[in-house]
Symmetry: C2
Subunit: 596 residues, 2 copies
């Protein structure tokens, strides 16, 4: 099937004299997750991972993806004739190097410029300049062959009430305009869906897990435009938009609108978030300022109303997680359950909570050695049955009207060995040490990462990933620019100074291939501590509230202050969660939050 799709594509390429065609995994907004309509790369290759780019040329077909997906890609590409290029491995060509190598002089490269960022597009153009290669970027060739392509989402948007958002559209718009003026910009093009959602206090249902609305925004010093399918907007949304005289235009009108920009305008945009077509539609001669969206820098600092809501959403999420843990630990081995069915069960507990919208990402429920696969996603076929032994890792989260959660717990289902207990304890210690940090204002994630990673490095192990990421408010579960990571990776943009009001996950882990995986994840709000003559001290407030399975802990491996932290944490869990439990659950929770 894949082969015949590629054949059809090559026929069209031949007709248009296109030598190579690029199919990335993005939508028109450089989103991390995309709607069904945009799953073009999956359609043409069969590869279902969240990150990867396919290149089809006259003679070659390749998929580029990263270490998370090597095994999965190998399996899914089997028989497709598509070669796997393992990004970052020695002697593996990058996409632009590959194109430079295989494409003949004066040949044509094509892609849909709406799914390629202007940064990437320019990189290709630069690399292929010497070979005088022509670039066609208005070509969505897959659309011609994908007969049953799902339509673009028509889901209705909803207004995020001021009681949740804490700051109205007008105030946010003023802040954006002030920032534009400081930079000397007269127009700001916003492509990032979460930045748009934040600015307008609108949420959508266009992308699973990410409550965003497919749209563009253009802000001038006088006007504000929203390019969106107007049918998604309810009367009360329009009423709100009208308060700032928002001009609503059809979603696809953005491209012509851009062409009509006045030559005197100075455009602020983020090239890594703006697609190649929009960027190239800007009339030549118009001055462009490439920089972060002001919204991105504003929305990462949650206001007091958002923070209060986040705390509330975590109590609800904690109730669901606690009820789930009680159910799991009491029923495993008694009733049949597997990696998929426990996720269904957990979803039910979350659905019982007020204001729950949907999961905030695809749950990772990995039992035994599946727990060691960092981005494991259980299917009916792959799912292990759960028995009264070993460890089950569950990384999950919820979208609530009052917050987005992301939590990982590992459950001891029966006997575990001393190595597993040592690993469980080390991960918990790392999580605790970062949570306890007191630090001077100005610190970044890379200053603190070793607090979480140190106990794991001490064992000669590492979890290879960052320690944590920023998280949105009723928005994307991954949000820039805050995070914890010891090496600076500029394109990840997660090493900013930790400001009061930022929310970041804290999720060290240990993953032993073929054996077990452990990750314990709480969310931290950065808050101000004492102000001293040396500067402003900062610390973290933990908002996640669910027991850490004491069956996995060896208290002798912990310091006194780590045990005290854990005991205080568990007391806080009990105090906040127990009022929402029945008597049996409550007694059980008392035991599982006991001091050690």
């Amino acid at each position: 099937m894949i082969k015949s799709r590629i054949e059809q594509l090559r026929e069209i390429m031949d007709e248009k004299d296109i030598y190579a065609y690029i199919i990335p995994s993005s939508d028109f907004h450089q989103s991390e997750y995309v709607g069904e309509y945009f799953k073009v790369r999956e359609y043409i290759s069969g590869f279902t991972g969240s990150a990867g780019t396919v290149i089809i040329t006259k003679n070659e077909a390749g998929l580029w993806t990263d270490g998370r997906y090597f095994l999965q890609a190998e399996a899914e590409l089997d028989g497709s004739g598509i070669e796997l290029f393992k990004c970052g491995m020695p002697n593996v060509l990058e996409i632009d190097e590959f194109l430079e190598k295989v494409m003949p002089e004066n040949s044509t490269l094509a892609f849909d410029g709406r799914v390629i960022s202007s940064l990437e597009g320019e990189k290709f153009a630069e690399k292929l300049k010497e070979k005088n290669i022509k670039i066609l970027y208005n070509e969505d060739l897959i659309d011609n062959i994908w007969n049953e392509r799902p339509p673009m989402s028509k889901e209705k948007a909803f207004l995020l009430d001021i009681k949740y958002a804490g700051e109205d559209f007008k105030s946010k718009l003023n802040r954006v305009r002030k920032s534009m003026e400081e930079k000397g910009a007269t127009m700001h093009i916003i492509s990032a869906l979460d930045d748009i959602a934040w600015l307008f206090n609108i949420r959508g249902r266009d992308i699973k897990y990410n409550p965003v609305l497919i749209s563009y925004a253009v802000v001038t010093l006088k006007d504000v435009y929203l390019f969106v399918d107007e049918e998604k907007l309810s009367a009360n949304i329009k009423e709100e938009l009208n308060k700032c005289n928002t001009i609503i235009k059809p979603y696809f009108d953005i491209y012509e609108f851009i062409k009509s920009i006045d030559r005197k305008d100075v455009i602020l945009l983020d090239k890594s978030k703006t697609n190649f077509t929009i960027y190239n539609n800007i009339p030549s001669g118009v001055k462009k300022i490439n920089g972060f969206n002001p919204c991105m820098l504003f929305k990462c600092i949650k206001n007091e109303v958002e923070l209060d809501n986040i705390r509330k959403s975590h109590i609800k999420d904690g109730v669901a997680m606690t009820k789930f843990m009680y159910w799991l630990k009491n029923n495993v081995g008694k009733i049949p359950m597997d990696e998929v069915s426990v996720d269904d069960k957990l979803l039910k507990f979350r659905q019982e909570q007020e204001g729950f919208i949907e999961p905030s990402f695809n749950t990772i429920a990995g039992y035994k050695d599946h727990g060691a696969i960092i981005h494991y996603s259980a299917t009916k076929e792959s799912a292990y049955e759960l028995n009264k032994e070993g460890l089950l890792l569950v990384d999950s989260g919820g979208q609530y009207y009052d917050g987005t959660t992301d939590i990982t717990r590992v459950y001891v289902l029966g006997e575990i060995d001393e190595i597993q207990r040592t690993h469980f304890t080390a991960v918990t210690r790392g999580m605790i040490n970062l949570s306890m940090a007191k630090f001077m204002y100005g610190c970044r994630g890379y200053n603190l990462d070793i607090l979480a990673r140190g106990p794991i490095w001490e064992l000669g192990l590492d979890y290879r990933t960052g320690t944590g990421h920023g998280i949105g408010f009723v928005l994307n579960v991954h949000e820039a620019p805050n995070g914890f990571r010891w090496k600076v990776v500029p394109e990840r943009n997660d090493s900013c100074i930790l400001e009061a009001g930022m929310v970041t996950t804290n999720e060290p882990g240990i993953y032993i291939d073929g054996s077990h995986g452990i990750r314990i994840e709480n969310e931290l709000i950065t808050v101000k501590g004492k102000e001293t003559e040396y500067g402003q001290l900062m610390e973290f407030e933990t908002v996640t509230l669910a027991p850490i399975d004491l069956d996995g802990i060896n208290p002798n491996l912990m310091t006194k202050s780590e045990r005290e932290y854990l005991n205080n944490y568990h007391k806080k869990v009990y105090d906040n969660i127990s009022p929402f439990l029945n008597e049996e659950e409550k007694q059980w929770l008392e035991k599982y939050t006991r001091a050690i």
Copy 2:
């Protein structure tokens, strides 16, 4: 006196129609410490601090210095008519901003281009361009008025035997040339005195504390030149130099030599280390590559022979420090002693050690509140008498033929209060936590700094300085590019990846103005730990060997592993140092290295 010197200077400036004259604290090599001949800024202002720049204009006189020296500068400038500009404080103009403000259009700025780096010089030129200000950089005006100016050093140089250096000149020269070739350079101008000393395996006595030889080196792919006062070179040095056909030229010939560079040459140099005159003497059109000296990048990684020598020098230094501590704690209150005399005593103990050359820097011996002055230097006038109470901070080090040491200990001379004990313990804990670090290869100082600083931040305190600096081998006590510091400060160049063989100090502290100062400093060699599938683990080997005064420690404030580390460290101190002590000292050391 200062006023009349400034008057004389202004007369000469008038004659030459110079509006402003810059007098920095540097020598011709951008050295941190300078010889007596170069103390021009001290002569003209009376300010004796190690860092500061004076500007004399027709009507103004100003000194720019940093926070370390605000108090001292205020005192020393009193009555001089020179205004103090506190660098880095709000609303204080930088030097270039000041010049731009006060200098009339078309006027003339002058300085001795040999004591200004090409980076600085270009900054001034850039800033003053719009006012069309002329820059004269061949003017050492002070030389005309400083009648009793000390001559330039005539001290003899000495060869660092291969048994100390571990790598011969030829091998080092090959490495430098290979690095030049990789960068496409045909000529490399080396101005940094410690880089030259390392390359030629020569040491000098031209600058107190820093065993360097005033000289320039020029390396081409075929030839190597040393610009130096030939009288400083012994026959055996010349013999060694001759092995690589070194062409020896008079020191001041460098300036004309530079003018004669071939236009086809490509010059590698470090603009921050090369003076403005040399840089401007390079014929126009010659291609220049601004980059770190390869020697700087080589010499920071000590070879096995150097490391073995360093370990030996630290045993000797530890014996001196231990004998000093025994003498101090047993005699304080019984015989008269003050901050100056204890330094003399410590020097005697070091002088008894084999191969001792000189101190590696000006000892900081601060009693009680003097300990809180981070760069305190006791004089006969300022020195406190020592009594049987309070804390004495001693930061000192030695130059030995087999290594350079830098150590800080704080001695409890009698009663101290609980706050002081808590501070002493926190500083010790920070020092220990950094020493115990296990980390993945690739970490930089900013990843680890919090291990040392954390216990001090927890108390709401900070020591404001970096946690540690690289240290030379029989060279400067401050050496780039390794260090521990949580904020990256590019011009300090101390945030490189920590490589095996680097030696770095570990010196957290607590400084309470008007009360006490505590700093505990050991030196760490970065060494390889286990190699794992996750990468190369790294750790530290502590080379400093001297008791940490247990009278200052509250064991209850330490974790079990911190106490174990301290006990193991003290056992190592006893095992290595006791063979060199008399029976009484030995018994005393046993007590002061007991397990707690």
